[in-house]
């Protein structure tokens, strides 16, 4: 398993936005969703998840609402705002570009240098 703290900075934010974009979630739900969509290869450090959620909320990318969880408990739910959707699209394309660039850089052969 890869810890999120070992990833590039900002990766956790994209993952959270992506997870929430698939449907309204509470904090624990975000954790589970990220593990699920990453095929259980990513392990979220719970300590950094909540500050990240609050940071995204503070920036207006996530909206929050208190609701009832699947087992009938009061929980705080996060959903993507319009700004959050924009940011997710932007970050996704940035990410893809970055990955493509790094990938081609890493495939470079000696004679091409």
């Amino acid at each position: 398993m890869i810890k999120t703290s070992e990833l590039l900075p900002g990766t956790l934010d994209i993952l959270i936005l992506k997870a929430v974009s698939l449907g309204e979630l509470h904090g624990y739900g975000v954790l589970l969703r990220i593990e699920q969509i990453s095929g259980r290869t990513l392990e979220i450090e719970q300590g950094s998840l909540y500050p990240a959620l609050h940071r995204l909320e503070h920036r207006g990318l996530l909206a929050t609402e208190w609701g009832v969880s699947e087992n009938n408990r009061r929980a705080k739910f996060y959903k993507l705002t319009r700004a959050g959707q924009g940011r997710l699209r932007e970050q996704t394309s940035n990410w893809e570009q970055l990955v493509a660039t790094i990938t081609s850089a890493l495939r470079a052969q000696p004679d091409e240098a």
Binding site: G27, Y28, G47, Y50, H54, E57, H58, A75, K76
Partner: protein, 868 residues
């Protein structure tokens, strides 16, 4: 951006509920995780434990989450200040003393700054005051220029953009509330445009007033409030100035004091060609014209004047200095001394604050070492200490500002009650620059002092501080404490010596032989005409005026008893001085102080006759002129012979016979040596009717007498202004207001300084002896008695004190030159003052150090040693 701000604001407003939400969110997380783990087959207790471990420290998460909302700074501040308030409340005596001292320091500092700024540094409230020059006659001229000379100056548009001339006058105001005698300025129409000032209400005197000879008057705000109760309908009202009617057209701004602070009326100067005035001119320099260019132009002009009238104006010079409001040097010096005294008190208070903070800093070194050992970084510790001192300084500063505001209000009330008008001090207000500077200074000092423990800690390794049982740091700080005690003693010593000298001087003044007996004398000012000559009121000629006053005296004597009333042209200590010019021996002119009096004057005032006789009713207008002189004049002009029967030459032809010599008595001012004086019978020579005063010797209740006297005088002339009815003793104590005021201020400040430095000594001894408990314990174990311990502690406290006293005494001797010029017949090295100050200081310090010494001595040595 906007959403972040809104989020921060919401978070700030609901800081508490945010905490609750965060807690609830984290709790939900834990529960959900536990459920999951249980579902995976874990036992519930272990699952809960596991969930909690996975989440980590919730408190840290909460802090991080709050920081996500931009609350980091806010949380820090709240935490630090909350901690600071708790620490300070645990030590209320310490906190209150610091706040009190800071309040005292900031308050006095701000108040002094505002006053000094107003008196000494504020530029004159005129437009570009540095471009104003005054043009004065010099050489054989006593400052004045003539009207034609001014009119020539006015044409010099090559030098000046505007020129004005004025003359001061003393006039009586009637037709409003109370008859009043005030200083007036008669000015040409351009004066206020040259100065560049505008009216508070209405308008100023203008050019057209001079040309059309409008009888327009601008009055001071003081006079407006006194005579018209500050009503805005004053404009257009008529007032009578020494019998002439004027229309009030404007009220002067209070900060405009032109040419000096006691002027209450400004009226147009009569520039008819036959007017004879001794004028002063003021002009505004044209751009690009320098002072030296003006001076050389004035030299050329003076040469012309000398040529035109080589006889009369042979020695005329003209001076063109930059314009400056003249303030009496003694007044400036008195103010400076009082400010210096305030400064000393401020420094003593600062010393106390520093001592308290340092003492506490040394005491807290152990606490700081522990916090450091537990992992708090220096910045973290500094933040806490800073928060504490900021709290204290802020509280102290606010209290100090309130106190300063109140003090200045009290000061203006006190000043308003003084018998004279003080320059620049009419409207002293809190000064924004002063406030900022003082508060910043205070914050800086407090922060520096509060950081001292960290500096101490840096000096001594934390481990050593922890290991050694005693409270360390004391050794490093001891010289600092001695320095504080010594410097406080030095400043307090200066103040105490100063107040001793000043009190001595005032007592001396009050007990001095004034040459007259001020007790049971009532003086009534009954002026006619103005300083610049009589006005047409039917009392123009000498016989008319003399006859008028004769009738007034008759009426007064009918009430008060025959021979109990007299007339005097210039009352002693009134500040008005008359000079008569006499041809001297070698063709020079000599000026002699002169007073017109009625024959009963000497009897009423209690001035004893030394030789010859006093005036008789036979000395009237037309009879041979006679005078009475004082002893000083007699001995100066006729040394070694009797002055009685000698003659004073008035001119080539006329002579006056001296018929009597009286004892010297105080003249216009108390602080000037008594000069030769001649007394003229008013029936023969009443020259200064504008200052005429009736003096009455009376034993009766002065209030009822005053009313009866008023009625008697108004029976002769219902329009006679009676501008002042005062006891001679009151006039005397008003005349010596300056030494009384400074003695009062110095004594008060000296007392405060004494108290503060005693407190400072107490705090320092208290602290240092607490540090020496171990040593004291050992001494007592090996046989020292309580008495020995007390002696040891007190003696040790006396050493820096003695040094401070010596330094303070020497410094005061060094300043003796300044002190002696405000003292009356008191030497500034009067040993009593120095010894008295030293004795008082020593006594106060012995008492201050005795209490902590006693506490140290009464502690049980065994338990002290065990505690260490």
């Amino acid at each position: 951006m906007f959403s972040r701000l809104r989020s921060l604001l919401t978070a700030l407003l609901r800081s508490r509920s945010l905490n609750r939400e965060i807690d609830e969110e984290l709790r939900f997380h834990c529960e959900a995780r536990t459920e999951d783990l249980v579902r995976r087959g874990m036992e519930r207790g272990a699952a809960e434990w596991q969930a909690r471990i996975e989440l980590g420290a919730t408190a840290a998460h909460r802090e991080e989450m709050r920081a996500s909302h931009g609350l980091r700074l806010f949380d820090y501040l709240r935490q630090e200040f909350g901690q600071a308030i708790r620490t300070l409340r645990r030590n209320p005596a310490f906190s209150l003393s610091i706040v009190g001292l800071i309040a005292l320091g900031v308050g006095s500092n701000v108040a002094i700054f505002s006053v000094v700024d107003a008196v000494l540094f504020r530029p004159p409230p005129f437009a570009e005051p540095e471009r104003l020059v005054s043009i004065n006659g010099a050489g054989s001229r006593n400052g004045w220029i003539s009207l034609p000379e001014y009119q020539t100056l006015k044409t010099r548009s090559d030098l000046f953009t505007g020129t004005a001339a004025y003359v001061r006058d003393l006039v009586t105001v009637t037709g409003a509330n109370e008859p009043d005698q005030v200083y007036a300025v008669r000015a040409t129409g351009q004066l206020f445009s040259v100065l560049g000032v505008r009216a508070l209400l209405g308008r100023m005197i203008e050019e057209s007033d001079e040309i059309q000879r409008t009888r327009a008057a601008v009055i001071s705000r003081r006079l407006w409030q006194r005579q018209f109760d500050g009503n805005t309908d004053v404009l257009g009202k008529t007032i009578s100035l020494s019998g002439e009617l004027f229309t009030v057209v404007g009220v002067m701004r209070p900060e405009i004091e032109f040419p000096v602070s006691n002027v209450d009326v400004w009226i147009p100067l009569d520039t008819a060609p036959d007017s004879r005035y001794f004028l002063t001119a003021i002009a505004r320099l044209k751009d690009g014209v320098t002072l030296s260019a003006v001076q050389s132009a004035m030299d050329v002009f003076a040469a012309q004047i000398r040529q035109e009238d080589p006889q009369k104006d042979a020695n005329v010079l003209l001076a063109a200095p930059p314009w400056r409001q003249s303030v009496e040097p003694a007044y400036e010096l008195t103010m400076m001394l009082i400010f210096a005294a305030f400064g000393c008190v401020l420094l003593i208070a600062c010393g106390n604050v520093a001592g308290l903070l340092l003492g506490r800093a040394a005491q807290r070194q152990r606490e700081i070492a522990i916090r450091g050992a537990l992992g708090a970084g220096p910045w973290r510790i500094a933040r806490g200490l800073l928060a504490e001192s900021l709290m204290l300084s802020a509280l102290g500063s606010v209290l100090g500002l309130i106190a300063a505001h109140q003090a200045l209000r009290l000061l203006s009330k006190l000043l308003a009650r003084l018998p004279i008008v003080l320059p620049h001090l009419q409207f002293v207000e809190l000064n924004a620059r002063g406030v900022t500077a003082s508060v910043l200074l205070c914050l800086a000092v407090a922060c520096l002092c509060s950081l001292a423990p960290i500096l101490f800690a840096a000096g001594a390794p934390a481990r050593a501080a922890l290991r050694s049982g005693e409270r360390t740091g004391s050794k490093a700080s001891r010289p600092l404490f001695s320095f504080l005690v010594a410097s406080q003693a030095a400043f307090a010593c200066f103040l105490l010596v100063g107040s001793g000298l000043m009190l001595h001087s005032v007592v001396h003044l009050q007990n001095a032989d004034k040459g007259f007996k001020p007790e049971n004398i009532l003086a009534l000012s009954v002026p006619t005409g103005t300083m610049r000559g009589p006005r047409p009121t039917g009392k123009e000629t000498q016989p008319q005026i003399a006859a008028y006053y004769e009738r007034l005296l008759e009426q007064v004597e009918r009430i008060n008893g025959p021979g109990s009333a007299a007339l005097v042209s210039n009352l002693p200590l009134s500040g008005i001085n008359m000079t008569l010019a006499f041809p001297g021996a070698d063709g020079e002119t000599i000026g002699l102080s002169a007073t017109s009096v009625s024959s009963q004057y000497f009897a009423v005032m209690g001035v004893p006759l030394v030789s010859g006789r006093l005036f008789t009713p036979a000395e009237r207008d037309g009879s041979a002129p006679v005078v009475v002189v004082n002893e000083r004049l007699a001995s100066e002009m006729f040394p070694g012979q009797s002055a009685v029967g000698q003659y004073l030459p008035v001119s080539q032809e006329a002579k006056i016979r001296i018929v009597g010599v009286v004892k010297d008595s105080w003249q216009s001012k108390y602080d000037q040596p008594i000069a030769g004086e001649i007394y003229l019978p008013y029936e023969q020579a009443i020259r200064w009717a504008f200052a005429s005063t009736i003096v009455i010797r009376t034993d009766r209740d002065s209030r009822t007498t005053a009313e009866a006297l008023q009625r008697a005088i108004w029976a002769v002339d219902p329009n006679q202004p009676i501008t002042r009815i005062r006891g001679m003793d009151a006039i005397l104590s008003d005349a010596i207001w300056r030494p009384r005021f400074s003695a009062w201020a110095f004594s008060l400040l000296g007392l405060i300084a004494l108290l503060l430095s005693a407190l400072g000594t107490y705090a320092v001894v208290n602290y240092t002896s607490a540090l020496r408990m171990r040593e004291v314990g050992i001494r007592m174990c090996v046989g020292a008695t309580a008495r020995d311990v007390v002696r040891l502690v007190v003696a040790e406290a006396m050493r820096p004190l003695a040094i401070g006293l010596a330094v303070g005494g020497l410094a005061t001797l060094g300043l003796a030159r300044f002190l002696s010029s405000v003292l009356y017949e008191t030497s500034s090295w009067e040993p009593e003052a120095y010894l008295g100050a030293a004795a008082v200081m020593l006594a106060a310090s012995v008492i201050a150090s005795f209490l902590p010494a006693l506490r140290a001595a009464s502690a049980d040595p065994v338990s002290v040693l065990r505690a260490e």
